[in-house]
């Protein structure tokens, strides 16, 4: 009989829901064969943010909510022999490992094996020569490289119960599990591409099970408040079926799988990862049962000689301020507020270019120049609830604050009946990518 393994994903980003993974772990525990649970907790800017926390306190720097995800499933997975694999170690996997070690010390799993996959953090290693200098006066706060599955495979082969990684690429979390479970060779490119496609489908968690999908009347999703976490079944012959937690909400359909297969993909024939160049140009998705979809036709090409690195940058501030106008003449008063703000901002800070939306007319589709908004205004019907939103990005926090205070002063200086001012300023962390030779980034496994 063909060997089949199971990989479930309990989180698709740092602020995902921590409560869904518990039923996923319970489901996995009932299945036979090798099973793995992955948590994907990093986005492009998370490393910069976590690195800044680490600089302030050496015991932090892992994903802020890592333990919100781990705690509900830890005993369950350790009891059932389900390894947990996550990139939630973020900027400081060792600190996460130390906390986990301490937490487990008093319980029945005090001998659980905790592995850290290290090597992605070039700043820590002083290997800063590979990274580009920020071109615009911003300051480098992190330099990390997207590494592949090798370190995870090593850790699992040596019996890791929990694998804490930093900037391992998202699909590699699954690739590591699959290579370990099925013994696939790292240079079997078609197999690596199948594993990567599986990881790609899992890595955004419920985005493949009916999350980020519902459109009433056109794409309805059952029990949309509680979409279940995805579970991939991967067999030694290369077949893959995507399903989800038993008795959960959401759905797995050909449509959800198609949308997620191409999510954030550019050239479908050449999706670059550290493990393989994935070729989706001949991929198909087919329903094989209720909430079960098989994918086939994924091909692979030799992995790139270079890896992608990411510089985290600070030095910019992002401010937003809003005020609403409702009732008769709302749109005319909101438009007048926009005109007043433009004039005031030009007086106070001529080098700052504000982004201004009129929510209700144009906001998320708008552009910095407001061309889209102007086009919509030329045909706008009478709206009776319009919110003026200003977005500001600048290196000088105080200047942004002055402009947002000026927006608030519309209370006494602006058009009649404005209300509901809100304003806030936050640091705008940025990133810049680069490539470097694969050989420059060896990964290692450390045990805790």
């Amino acid at each position: 009989m063909t060997k089949t393994i199971y990989v479930g994903c309990g989180a698709g980003f740092a602020n995902d829901r921590p409560d869904a993974a518990r039923s996923l772990a319970l489901d996995l525990a009932t299945r036979q064969g090798p099973r793995y649970l992955m948590f994907e907790l990093l986005a492009e800017r998370t490393l910069a943010e976590t690195q800044m926390r680490r600089l302030a306190d050496a015991d932090t720097g892992y994903a802020l909510r890592l333990f919100d995800f781990l705690d509900p499933v830890l005993d369950l997975c350790l009891d059932a022999g389900i390894p947990i694999i996550t990139n939630g170690g973020a900027a400081n996997p060792r600190a996460a490992a130390r906390r986990l070690r301490k937490q487990l010390a008093s319980g029945r799993h005090s001998t659980a094996k905790i592995a850290c996959v290290l090597g992605d953090d070039l700043l820590e290693q002083g290997q800063t020569q590979w990274a580009p200098q920020p071109s615009d006066g911003r300051e480098t706060v992190s330099i990390n490289v997207y590494v592949g599955a090798d370190g995870i495979v090593d850790a699992l082969n040596e019996g890791a119960d929990i694998v804490l990684c930093g900037r391992v690429s998202d699909p590699s979390l699954a690739v590591g599990a699959i290579r370990h479970g099925l013994g696939w060779a790292a240079d079997d490119w078609d197999k690596m591409a199948i594993a990567t496609a599986t990881g790609h489908l899992l890595e955004c968690c419920t985005q493949v099970t009916g999350g980020y999908f519902a459109h009433p009347g056109r794409k309805d999703v059952p029990n949309p408040a509680n979409p279940g976490c995805p579970i991939a079944e991967i067999s030694a012959d290369g077949s893959v079926v995507i399903g989800k937690t038993e008795e959960s909400g959401g759905c797995v359909t050909v449509r959800t799988v198609r949308e997620q297969l191409l999510y954030e993909v550019h050239d479908p024939a050449a999706y670059l990862t550290p493990d393989v160049i994935m070729d989706l140009s001949a991929v198909t998705a087919q329903a094989v049962g209720p909430d079960r979809v098989a994918i086939s036709g994924v091909r692979g090409h030799p992995r790139p000689d270079t890896l992608k690195g990411l510089v985290g940058l600070r030095g910019l501030w992002f401010g937003e301020g809003e005020i609403s106008y409702a009732g008769p003449g709302a749109l005319a008063r909101a438009q007048l507020a926009r005109d007043i703000l433009r004039e005031r901002f030009a007086q106070l800070a001529p080098d700052v270019s504000p982004w201004i939306d009129l929510s209700g007319v144009a906001s998320v589709f708008n552009d910095h120049q407001g061309q889209y908004l102007d086009r919509q205004l030329s045909s706008a019907i009478a709206l009776d609830d319009v919110r003026v939103r200003v977005g500001l990005l600048h290196a000088d926090r105080d200047l942004i604050n002055i402009l947002l205070q000026d927006l608030e002063s519309l209370y006494t200086n602006g058009p009649a009946g404005g209300g509901g001012v809100r304003r806030h300023i936050s640091e705008a962390l940025g990133t810049q990518d680069f490539r470097l030779p694969r050989e420059a980034v060896p990964t290692t496994v450390e045990w805790f």
Binding site: R258, W355, V364, D367, G391
Partner: protein
């Protein structure tokens, strides 16, 4: 000419971002409409819809196995999540700007 249709009534889509690059994959609800989609949803039509975002290049990829068109629009996110002062800095909602395109009926 017959009344144009709204793409959202015939297709679904999901948008993704990497830096300042927007990608949108679009799929007909009915697989039999794929040839129609390939014929009508041209790069030029998409360029016109996103003109206010000044994309520097637009690539269109056909993925017949998934009945999909994948559009990649460079320099379209006003700096993206790193650099945009807009409300939707990822451009996640822009799948529906694409779906707001009007096309001749299949």
């Amino acid at each position: 000419m017959s009344t144009p249709i709204l793409l959202a009534d015939y297709a679904h889509a999901r948008a993704g971002d990497k830096g300042n690059t927007l990608s949108i994959a679009v799929f007909p609800f009915d697989d039999d409409h794929y040839a129609w989609l390939c014929r009508e949803l041209t790069t030029e039509r998409v360029r016109a819809q996103f003109a206010h975002r000044n994309p520097s290049t637009i690539q269109r990829y056909e993925v017949p196995g998934l009945k999909a068109l994948n559009f990649v629009l460079e320099d379209t996110l006003e700096g993206g999540v790193n650099r945009s002062a807009g409300l939707d800095r990822h451009g996640k909602s822009l799948s529906y700007l694409l779906l707001a395109i009007e096309l001749p009926k299949p």
